[in-house]
Symmetry: C2
Subunit: 300 residues, 2 copies
């Protein structure tokens, strides 16, 4: 791909730092200017060589950048986009890395739309682990062989040429970093990840809490084996990040949680009725599907 002349990195954490290091490693960027509300994080990124220069605001960071990565918490997106709006031009590519997409796509449409620059923003969600945080854990190969989902807003269909150009550029960038790129609507994205990521986290948190609320809960926990360990591992995830994700994807999360409760209730009714046939049919279907995952693709 044609290298990025200047990347504006807004948010110098694990994701932003890894994006910067990945581009540098592959020689796909000439200069990286960074900004972080946390001065220490920004200085560390500079001293590690993750960014080449620092800036005093999101707006200054955007100034003159042909590509901008927003790697800030979802809750900071609106303020940040508004701050950098004056510095954007018609050709700028702006992307984020958040775990939910409908909210951010709408925010970008509202804010960038004021200057008819909504086509500049391509919402992105790279699917990769985040057990640790901070630029000190940034990796130059974090995105290699990972999936990334791009979710252009349907409203951009009004200006298909500009939107298509920006989307093609975004694809180019992620593919150059070793990603497999998928394109879907923000709605489709949020429904998908509510099902395979947000609900599992929500249920793992709930499972732990249900145990903790029981008088003997901590006693019980000492007998947990590998099944318990795996099932609850994601309950150790960052509470603030997950609060934001769950609230940001409220409608889909509530739907998935309700569907899970209904399924639990149905299976409870089989157990209560000693209906071994119906129960085994449930368990067999789940077991077979899980055993063949992840080979099962939508095209099969």
């Amino acid at each position: 791909m044609e290298p990025i002349r200047q990347l504006g990195l807004v948010g110098c954490g694990l994701m932003g730092g890894s994006f910067a290091l990945s581009l540098k490693k592959k020689g796909l960027v000439t200069h990286i200017i960074g900004y972080d509300a946390n001065q220490e994080a920004m200085d560390l990124a500079k001293s590690m060589g993750v960014i080449d220069s620092i800036s005093s605001s999101a707006c200054e960071c955007a100034q003159g950048s042909d590509a901008i990565l927003l790697a800030v918490p979802v809750s900071a997106t609106e303020t940040t986009l508004a701050a950098m709006l004056p510095a954007l031009s018609n050709d700028t590519l702006v992307m984020d890395v958040g775990s939910t997409k409908q909210e951010v796509a709408q925010i970008a449409l509202d804010i960038l739309g004021k200057r008819n620059l909504a086509h500049c923003f391509v919402p992105a969600h790279p699917i990769c682990g985040r057990e640790v945080s901070g630029v000190q854990h940034a990796l130059s190969d974090l995105f290699e062989r990972k999936k990334v989902i791009l979710t252009p807003h349907a409203a951009l269909d009004a200006d298909p040429a500009a939107a298509a150009t920006r989307l093609a550029r975004a694809k180019d960038v992620w593919q150059s970093l070793g990603c497999e790129v998928f394109v879907m609507s923000p709605q489709e994205h949020d429904a998908t990840f509510a099902a395979v990521s947000h609900l599992p986290h929500f249920a793992a948190f709930a499972g732990l809490l249900s145990l903790l609320h029981q008088t003997q809960g901590l006693n019980y926990m000492q007998f947990g084996g590998t099944g318990f360990s795996d099932f609850t591992r994601i309950a150790a995830s960052d509470p603030v990040m997950w609060r934001d994700i769950l609230l940001s994807n409220k409608k889909e999360v509530l739907l998935q949680s309700r569907l899970l409760r209904q399924q639990l209730e149905l299976m409870e009714s089989f157990v209560a009725a000693d209906d071994g046939v119906a129960l085994q049919a449930c368990l067999s279907r789940a077991s077979a599907a899980r055993a063949e995952w992840p080979r099962k693709k939508c095209s099969e």
Copy 2:
């Protein structure tokens, strides 16, 4: 410990075979006579040297054995115990290896009680993985550094001396195999494992099914990452074994599933109300508890 003169191994599968190999490796048994309803499994156990001789019935297998391990499905326990009853003597140690204990403890009490031999039976539950099955996967170190729970029936308090002798012998055997031995009531055991094992399995099965019932479920699944993978791993478990476990521990499983649904509903109400404070408090408590597990013990 004083070696076993003759072990009667009823059920020559992974668990039974591993028990036999472990005793042999440590020189703790002189002769092992095996029985399995499946002739092939029994022949394989003999040809592998897991057992020294074969028998034609559970009763013949019990005849002359000073220790007997019942390593059959929970659903076969009643018939098997009844079949071997005539061959038991006052000194025989009989143990099982099932994942639920109230049912089996009661069955043993009823059947062995007919000859006043209820004290011979010490229900045992070794906590170790079972991703594979069959004697060909038996390991001589399967029980090393694992927990085993012994659950003598409270009714045996009527004859405390005989029960204590048998329990001490059972402890001796498992400790000699490298196990950490815990003693609790069958009720306490089933409540504990409903919480840390049966419910996680039940919920993992339900989570998978909930997804499979959705039109886009298989599409969604292809975007599942490591969180989804860990959360659902145990949904690939053996459906027949888990049908039996869930039905055998019905009351406790239903309680745990109801508590999980209530917790989900509570957290849903926080999400629905955009109550970030309450939601974060939940997630933080769960996250902290999971992060410090398994160091958290009941005595702390």
